[in-house]
């Protein structure tokens, strides 16, 4: 039973389209995150939610909109996709706002914009 699951695993779409990536965690964690792994392999935080409340919103184009319907879910919607959005997107969760034990990551969604 996967702890943090993301769907879809792969997503190929055309420029200008709107797409969503879903994330669910069954760990009972309070905090969830979206990270983007860019072409240089750095993992960069995009958003963080704690108990459905947005707490981190990094410098991300406003075409990216996270939505947390409940604390077990954090979805990422991307409008007007651009070539530069191609990356691997990782969802993660942590028990709370303390990072001592790190995050539990999903397996990633590889987004390719053509």
């Amino acid at each position: 039973d996967t702890a943090v699951s993301q769907t879809p695993k792969y997503l190929v779409t055309q420029m200008g389209n709107d797409k969503s990536i879903k994330c669910e965690q069954n760990l009972g964690h309070d905090t969830m995150y979206w990270y983007k792994q860019d072409s240089k392999k750095f993992l960069k935080i995009m958003f963080s939610y704690n108990n459905k409340e947005l707490i981190i919103n990094e410098t991300v184009p406003n075409r990216f909109s996270p939505k947390s319907p409940d604390k077990a879910h954090l979805n990422l919607h991307i409008n007007s996709l651009e070539l530069g959005d191609s990356a691997v997107y990782f969802c993660a969760s942590s028990q709370d706002l303390v990072i001592d034990y790190g995050y539990t990551f999903g397996s990633g969604t590889r987004l390719t914009v053509v």
Binding site: F42, I45, S48, F90, L97, G102, S107
Partner: protein, 119 residues
């Protein structure tokens, strides 16, 4: 401006030997550091962490060393096993608690080092 860097893209080690993975950081405000391991097609998995009040933390075969003056940390794996072959990421944070809207408790990752352990 990458504040956490892993300058070795890859490392190859013989089974049973020591693997040493290095990480450098530039932000002197970082005071909490973590290592993650990632297998292909999986997300990163937390391995070990260290606070800046320590210079060493050990967990089984894994030991992390922190040199604050050099802004350098390293992960030692002894003995290395083929199952350790993966990408290793270091991460750093200012503080342990994510205070939201601030720089506290946000993990900044390096770009990873591919470790290959040969049988």
């Amino acid at each position: 401006d990458q504040q956490v860097k892993q300058n070795s893209p890859s490392l190859s080690v013989q089974e049973g030997r020591i693997s040493i993975l290095n990480c450098d950081y530039t932000n002197s405000m970082f005071d909490y550091f973590l290592w993650y391991k990632k297998y292909p097609a999986e997300g990163p998995t937390f391995l070990i962490s260290i606070s800046s009040i320590k210079d060493k933390n050990e967990d089984g075969r894994f030991t992390v060393f922190l040199n604050k003056s050099a802004k350098h940390l390293s992960l030692h794996i002894v003995p290395s096993q083929p199952g350790d072959s993966a990408v290793y990421f270091c991460a750093a944070s200012r503080g342990r608690v994510n205070a939201g809207g601030t720089s506290y408790g946000k993990l900044t990752f390096g770009q990873g080092t591919i470790l290959t352990v040969h049988p």
